[in-house]
């Protein structure tokens, strides 16, 4: 007769924590009624996640949800012992209630390292001043919040990753926030309000992801910045402003980014880049750029110039994606082929994969495709996806004619 032995209860604490951390908070807390040894195993969990899965509170009534949720969080925080390293509150039905202030105060007295707060309902939640005292914070993620630190705020000294979406911040507060976090490596900004100048002074920044409405982007010293994704959601009329002087936005943007590896130019950002004087190629090429994705309106001459400048300045490109912006229906005039204006050849010796989408067979689009095919000796695959079935046949006929520098290039036509 083999005695059934309870092996799991005697595992070391950090392993039990690991096991419980794979469960929802609800399941983890429920283990406390399993046996005497399990009664308090859950309360040293370093990660507390309160979302719709960990807290099964469902009711159409707001006040009931609020009271139940607050009750649960209060209970858990009270019964918990040991350090809380990560705290995430992201329940769909919770609005920005004052209880959150209380919880943040409690957390700030410990050594909180990761804080995620997502307010899915209601207005922007104003963060309490105690949050700004969490000096051990490494990752801060906020959704639908109002960021207004007290005057004595010194920045988050340990912060490496900042994710702000749907937030309201003043311009100077924003700049100070970024520049005072000396270790900042990742920055994500989506749909922000209260500031329009993206003055980013973060010397250790590696990853930068922005989507919103802004007027200008300025990097201070960004010599490590490797991954950039920028989307400008508004089509501001960027007329050629003589006050800009000799440097257009193109040069100004790329000058502080010598080590950029991945770049995504989204929404209307290419229009921003096209403002001012656009050179044929950048003064210093982006030699480390291996992935490029551009949202472009092929019929806009300035944008096409900017795109071709960028392409000519990226000799080591491996993957390219060009997406046509669908909303603009400007008149398709047969534009002069700006790509032939360049004097010397521009070989993309490493370009393996090209994706073109949303095109309608216009001459500028075909010029680009022709240019790419003729200058990519290492090309393996190009996928072309038109916006609609109109003119698809014509497009195919043109595609067939183009010369290809690469013998093994496959051109795949995807149905719209």
């Amino acid at each position: 007769m083999v005695m059934e032995v309870d092996k799991i209860s005697n595992l070391p604490g950090h392993i039990t924590d690991k096991i419980l951390s794979h469960l929802s908070l609800r399941d983890a807390v429920r283990t406390s009624i399993l046996s005497r040894k399990w009664r308090y195993k859950w309360d040293s969990l370093p990660y507390l996640v309160f979302d719709n899965q960990s807290v099964l509170v469902s009711s159409p009534d707001q006040t009931v949800i609020k009271s139940k949720l607050v009750n649960i969080v209060d209970h858990v925080l009270l019964l918990h012992s040991g350090p809380i390293e990560k705290f995430k509150l992201s329940h769909r039905d919770l609005q920005g209630v004052n209880d959150i202030d209380r919880w943040i105060l409690f957390l700030s007295r410990g050594s909180l390292k990761e804080f995620v707060l997502e307010i899915w309902k209601g207005h922007r939640y104003r963060l309490p001043s105690s949050l700004y005292c969490c000096q051990n914070l490494i990752h801060l993620e906020l959704f639908n919040c109002l960021v207004k630190p007290p005057p004595i705020f010194n920045g988050f000294r340990s912060l490496k990753s900042l994710d702000l979406q749907h937030i309201t911040v003043d311009q100077d507060v924003f700049e100070y926030l970024i520049s005072s976090c000396l270790l900042l490596e990742r920055l994500t900004l989506m749909n922000f309000e209260g500031f329009t100048q993206l003055n980013i002074h973060a010397p250790n920044l590696l990853f930068f992801d922005v989507g919103g409405v802004f007027e200008d982007v300025n990097f201070g010293n960004a010599s490590h910045l490797a991954i950039v994704s920028i989307g400008l959601y508004v089509n501001a009329g960027h007329d050629k402003n003589p006050a800009l002087g000799n440097t257009g936005n193109m040069i100004k943007f790329f000058a502080p980014l010598p080590h950029i590896q991945r770049l995504e130019v989204q929404s209307f950002f290419l229009k921003y880049l096209a403002a001012g004087k656009v050179p044929e190629r950048l003064p210093t090429p982006c030699i480390e750029l291996n992935y490029l994705s551009i949202r472009i309106n092929f019929n806009d001459r300035e944008e096409s110039l900017a795109a071709s400048c960028l392409l000519r300045s990226s000799p080591n490109l491996q993957e390219l994606e060009m997406l046509a912006r669908p909303e603009e229906q400007t008149a398709v005039r047969p534009a002069a082929n700006i790509l032939q204006e360049g004097s010397d050849k521009c070989p993309f010796n490493q370009l393996r994969l090209v994706k073109i989408a949303g095109i309608s067979g216009g001459s500028q689009e075909l010029n680009f495709i022709n240019f790419l095919l003729a200058n990519s000796p290492a090309l393996e695959m190009m996928t072309v996806k038109p916006a609609s079935t109109n003119g698809g046949w014509e497009l195919l006929k043109e595609l067939l004619r183009f010369r290809r520098a690469s013998v093994q290039a496959e051109i795949i036509y995807l149905d719209p």
Binding site: I8, H22, R26, S58, P60, D61, K121, D209, Q266, S267
Partner: protein, 423 residues
């Protein structure tokens, strides 16, 4: 005693030159293993750097938690994963097969892997153990892991009641409790059965027409049928999307949340969101059809709750991401119900009453389904100038459709009012 290790087999092929190291487990038994396999464990790697393990006389002493059985399992794991050419898919499928063992061995393996600092294996096994705990009742978990049930009853009931709620039962309790309350308030029930029958027909016809082709408007409860302010949030891996229904003026424009490199207006994410938008557009419509006004006031209140409740029940059961999207829409459509009964009144549910009502629901369902065809034929043949009643698929599967609880509660309301039974 041990299975013949690969090390022994390799001796047969002399052309493959591999270096071997010696490991010693707590029971003093020795094992010879290829160095490249063993160094996958950081602990062994460190020991080799210290100069140990090169010969039989100086074997690497493994920590106490590693017995020979678990050692061979760990070495199998290392042997597979140290080969660099394997795809992620291959590794994942190997892992899934690897962890299929009883809980005792799984625990020992976790412990041993931890002492050897083999983090990927510890992650794998702890996730497997977590899966065995997830979603189970305490009794099941105790059985799986042979845990003693040594807490007193008092200790068990301590402050965890909040976590053990089943939303379905709570909702059902609410409905029953409210019905009972209304009964008490109304005093004597309305008498005539004829009256009851008239009410019955009208409600059912209304119900049928609503289900078949209701209009989507703003009904008297302010439930809008178009989503306002659709927001999507993409999480770090760029895969799942959550939905945020903005309430309030400042959240009426479509907004996006993401923290991965893919752009909002990039074609891929746009398509994803369009799909979701379509899903959401359908959801409010179905919500409104059932929520549209019906003859009796009580029925309306119950529709609201039951509709919400049913979708909420769906939400708690289904774990894929698109269904919660639908549920969120319905939940968040500002359903204000200030007469929601507090929880304290719900505990005294009469099981006998519940049984009676359940039986009545089944009977009513049968009756309704059998009458359907005759009723339709009647309507069509009798009067062709009347506006045609659109025929749709009858509601046979009462249990799973949202109409199920509608009928259930409708029956409840009607049986309470008229006092008649539909047996």
């Amino acid at each position: 005693m041990y299975p013949m290790s690969d090390a022994d087999r390799q001796v047969i092929k002399p052309e493959i030159m591999k270096s071997y190291i010696w490991l010693q487990t707590a029971d003093d038994s020795l094992q010879e293993v290829e160095q490249e396999v063993a160094t996958f464990c950081p602990f062994i790697c460190h020991e080799i750097h210290k100069g140990m393990g090169s010969s039989k006389n100086y074997p690497i002493s493994l920590p106490q938690r590693v017995n020979p059985g678990t050692l061979s399992l760990i070495l199998d794991y290392c042997r597979f994963h140290q080969v660099s050419g394997r795809s992620n898919k291959e590794r994942k499928s190997y892992d899934e097969k690897f962890i299929r063992m009883d809980t005792k061995r799984l625990c020992e393996l976790t412990s041993a892997a931890d002492s050897l600092q083999l983090r990927p294996l510890v992650d794998l096994t702890s996730r497997a153990l977590a899966r065995m705990i997830e979603g189970k009742t305490p009794e099941e978990i105790r059985e799986t892991f042979h845990l003693p049930d040594d807490l007193t009853e008092e200790e068990k009931l301590e402050p965890l009641r909040n976590f053990a709620d089943d939303p379905r039962i709570r909702l059902l309790n609410t409905l029953y409790a409210r019905k009972r309350k209304e009964l008490k308030e109304r005093g004597k029930p309305k008498s005539v059965e004829v009256e009851g029958e008239l009410v019955d027909d009208r409600s059912v016809d209304d119900l049928l027409s609503f289900i078949n082709g209701g209009t989507s408007t703003v009904d008297s409860f302010g439930i809008r049928t178009t989503p306002c302010g659709l927001v999507l949030k993409r999480l770090n891996h760029g895969q799942c999307c959550s939905v945020f229904m903005g309430i309030g003026e400042d959240l009426c424009t479509p907004i996006w949340r993401r923290s991965d490199s893919k752009g909002v207006r990039a074609s891929k994410s746009k398509k994803k969101n369009r799909r979701r938008k379509d899903q959401l557009k359908h959801a409010p419509m179905s919500c409104s059809t059932v929520n549209s006004t019906s003859s009796s006031n009580n029925a309306i209140d119950i529709h609201k709750e039951s509709n919400g409740g049913d979708f909420i029940c769906h939400n708690s059961k289904v774990h894929n991401h698109s269904v919660p999207v639908l549920c969120e829409t319905l939940k968040l459509q500002d359903i204000e119900d200030d007469r929601f009964a507090p929880e304290d009144e719900l505990d005294d549910l009469d099981p006998a009453m519940k049984e009676i009502i359940d039986r009545e629901v089944e009977d009513f369902a049968r009756r309704l389904n059998s009458d359907w065809h005759e009723r339709i034929q009647e309507l069509l043949s009798l009067d062709q100038e009347r506006r045609p009643l659109p025929i749709t698929r009858p509601i046979y599967n009462l249990r799973s459709s949202p109409c199920a609880s509608y009928f259930r509660t409708l029956l409840l309301a009607l049986s309470v009012q008229s006092g008649a039974s539909y047996a």
